[in-house]
């Protein structure tokens, strides 16, 4: 999960990495007020959970409160990669002598932590990495290792930090590494770390991504207002609802509601729909061993999405038992009712029990199953995919 720039910076501050004395504002009057209090030229930055903000016009300067107000108005009306701008960060504008890059991340393929640094920070760092790999310094560490000051000094020297700033930058690198470990981060970046005209070193931007799965052991982050969210972009209201219910869910642009079992087939099933000419309306995963209640909620998400024209269901019972799956579907049919056609296939663990649950429920209330096409192990999954695309394409299929 990605943090907003201002959230990342508040973590920097906690770990004694110097940041600009900025504040966030949700409205233009607030922006003007902050500029009046700072009483100096400012930079105003859109707070969005995506990259490429600068190139999209999300970072602007202003010399006084009046111009700041009109700049802010423009920013609030901006969309960056489709995401609205609801919050601005207002900071003093610095005269910059030099820009450095410092980051810590995980080399997953080699199971190591890596400190990355460069004397040429800024937006073109990836290009630098590709064209001038010699300008990038990497230090690999075990997750159980400390980063010592003398190691950070070596990194700082290698990226061309001069004597005067050596100890300061080494301290920043050590603190960034401490923060990375203490917050269970996947990525922390200061880009750029700027050397200002008056010889201050300041983290001018932050990029921080934390491990959702480790949040449980960081109540201090929750106390700071940092909660689960996407790696990129804010959640839609449906995604927020799904998260509340504990269901991994992503909205897409299509019209076929995807109701798969397992994250793996959740991804590949979408490919299958594409192969047969359809467009999925979502990604979804049931999570391990979902209860009937969660299965029912998954269907609620799809049925109440006006864009969904048909639902594709597939369950290969592993840890997700087919009997629980069937119970959940029946619960949904009884308590909520189905307004879209659904085609489903079920096999795997306890699938016979699942079939029996379906049959019993259908015998009892045949009308509940009017829009339900149920298949077993005998029908290939490719055929189910084809049928889902067909159902979505029917006029008045609803």
């Amino acid at each position: 999960m990605r943090l907003y720039e201002f959230e990342g910076k508040s973590l920097f501050k906690k770990y004694e990495i110097p940041i600009p004395e900025g504040r966030t504002a949700a409205g233009i009057n607030e922006v003007a007020q902050i500029v009046r209090e700072l009483n100096k030229p400012v930079v105003i930055k859109a707070q969005v959970l995506t990259g490429g903000r600068g190139k999209a016009g999300g970072v602007k300067f202003a010399d006084n409160a009046d111009t700041a107000q009109s700049v802010a108005e423009n920013l609030f009306n901006l969309k960056i990669k489709g995401y609205p701008v609801n919050l601005l960060l207002v900071e003093p504008k610095y005269e910059i002598k030099r820009e450095f890059y410092i980051g810590v991340t995980i080399d997953r393929a080699n199971y190591k932590l890596v400190v990355v640094a460069s004397g040429e920070g800024g937006v073109d760092i990836e290009e630098t990495a590709e064209k001038h790999p010699e300008k990038i310094v990497k230090k690999t560490l075990s997750v159980q290792q400390e980063l010592y000051t003398f190691e950070a000094l070596e990194i700082a020297k290698q990226i061309g930090i001069t004597s005067e700033h050596l100890k300061t930058v080494a301290r920043i690198i050590v603190n960034l590494y401490l923060m990375f470990k203490a917050t269970d981060a996947k990525l922390v970046e200061i880009n750029p770390l700027v050397l200002t005209a008056d010889n201050q070193l300041i983290a001018a931007d932050s990029r921080v991504s934390l491990d959702d799965d480790a949040l449980f052991r960081h109540p201090e982050l929750k106390a700071m207002g940092i909660e689960k969210r996407h790696e990129e972009g804010e959640m839609t209201s449906r995604e927020k609802q799904a998260t509340e219910w504990g269901i991994p869910y992503l909205d897409l642009d299509g019209d076929i509601g995807m109701f798969p079992g397992g994250a793996g087939f959740g991804i590949m099933g979408n490919d299958f729909i594409h192969y047969y000419g359809g467009q999925p309306a979502n990604f979804m995963d049931s999570g391990g061993g979902p209860s009937p209640e969660r299965i029912a909620k998954m269907l609620v998400l799809l049925d109440e999405n006006p864009d969904v024209k048909a639902i594709f269901g597939a369950r290969f019972g592993g840890i997700s038992r087919c009997d629980d799956f069937a119970k959940g579907v029946v619960m949904f049919l009884k308590e909520h009712g189905l307004s879209k056609p659904i085609v489903m296939r079920m096999t795997g663990n306890m699938w016979q029990e699942g079939v029996k649950i379906f049959q019993d429920a259908k015998n009892e209330n045949p009308e509940l199953f009017e829009k339900v096409e149920f298949h077993g192990i005998e029908t290939p999954i490719e055929e189910i995919s084809r049928r889902a695309v067909e159902l979505a394409g029917m006029k008045g299929g609803n």
Partner: protein
């Protein structure tokens, strides 16, 4: 033969008295897996399905000779459970739970390398050597003994692939679930080399997906393998995977889209497949 587990494996279950652990221990035993015991601190001396329960893995190993362990515990407990198993001498460890903190997995991997233990997972459906041993949460229905090995990031994909192989008469030597978490105990290349060394395995189906870093490692070993490798990648039509900032790009290189991964694997000599139906067709062409 087979890889990693067979009928002689002495299997234990960490978390054997919990609801999920008990449910799947029962299934594993019913399948014929040689489950010799399990652990649940504070419940030592009890029994689950005739299997003795111990307080610690070390006791279980000492009393039962267990050499393989399957972990059914909450994600928060996995780091210590894995280290306990590795230190107690377990040689193959199957980590079923999902959502294990990434830093914990890095720690586990280091302990595993040091201790000489092979770990699969987290977030794996497990491993099955059909007719011999079924470790984890896989449904028996999909599997039959045979000559094709599978290795996949996903449980559900494993079932579909095995189901396809079973129905078309190839059957499976061993099916390995690497796991769906972002950092895993083992990588494709490591498992592919196990299959390469196995007489029974005449071909391997590997199924990866968008967003990981382990598919790329497979490309380093496929060119050296005699056993043919079939490759499927999920997420061909998904939006490109999100990169982990600049540092991710610098450290892990350009993270491929699913399409690029599939092309890279094909370049390394793997045989790409699109849907499950392509698998038996390709095997037939290869004369497996």
């Amino acid at each position: 033969m087979a890889i990693l587990v067979d009928k002689n494996s002495r299997v234990m279950v960490q978390g054997i008295t919990g609801g999920t652990g008990q449910f799947h221990a029962r299934r594993m035993i019913e399948y014929g897996t040689r489950v010799v015991g399990g652990t649940s601190p504070g419940k030592g001396g009890q029994k689950v399905m005739d299997c003795p329960v111990f307080d610690t893995v070390a006791e279980c190993v000492k009393e039962t000779g267990a050499d393989v362990s399957v972990v059914f515990l909450p994600a928060v407990a996995v780091k210590e459970a894995a280290i306990e198993a590795i230190r107690a001498g377990i040689k193959f460890l199957v980590v079923i739970p999902e959502h294990i903190p990434i830093h914990d997995m890095l720690h586990i991997r280091e302990e595993a390398v040091r201790g000489g233990t092979i770990v699969i997972g987290g977030n794996t459906a497990g491993i099955i050597t059909p007719g011999q041993a079924n470790l984890g949460i896989m449904p028996d229905i999909a599997f039959a003994p045979g000559r094709v090995g599978t290795v996949s990031r996903s449980g559900s994909i494993t079932y579909y692939v095995a189901d396809t192989l079973t129905r078309t008469g190839y059957g499976e030597s061993t099916c390995v679930g690497l796991g769906g978490d972002p950092v895993l105990g083992s990588t494709f290349d490591e498992i592919l080399l196990k299959f390469e060394a196995d007489d029974q395995t005449k071909a391997v189906v590997m199924t990866g997906e968008i967003g990981g870093v382990y598919e790329e490692r497979a490309c380093t070993v496929i060119p050296k393998m005699k056993t043919p490798v079939l490759a499927m990648i999920g997420g061909i039509f998904a939006p490109p995977g999100k990169r982990m900032g600049h540092a991710g790009a610098i450290v892990e290189g350009k993270m491929g889209t699913a399409k690029e991964k599939l092309e890279m694997l094909a370049d390394a000599g793997a045989h790409p497949c699109r849907t499950f139906k392509d698998i038996p067709e390709t095997l037939k062409k290869l004369g497996v």
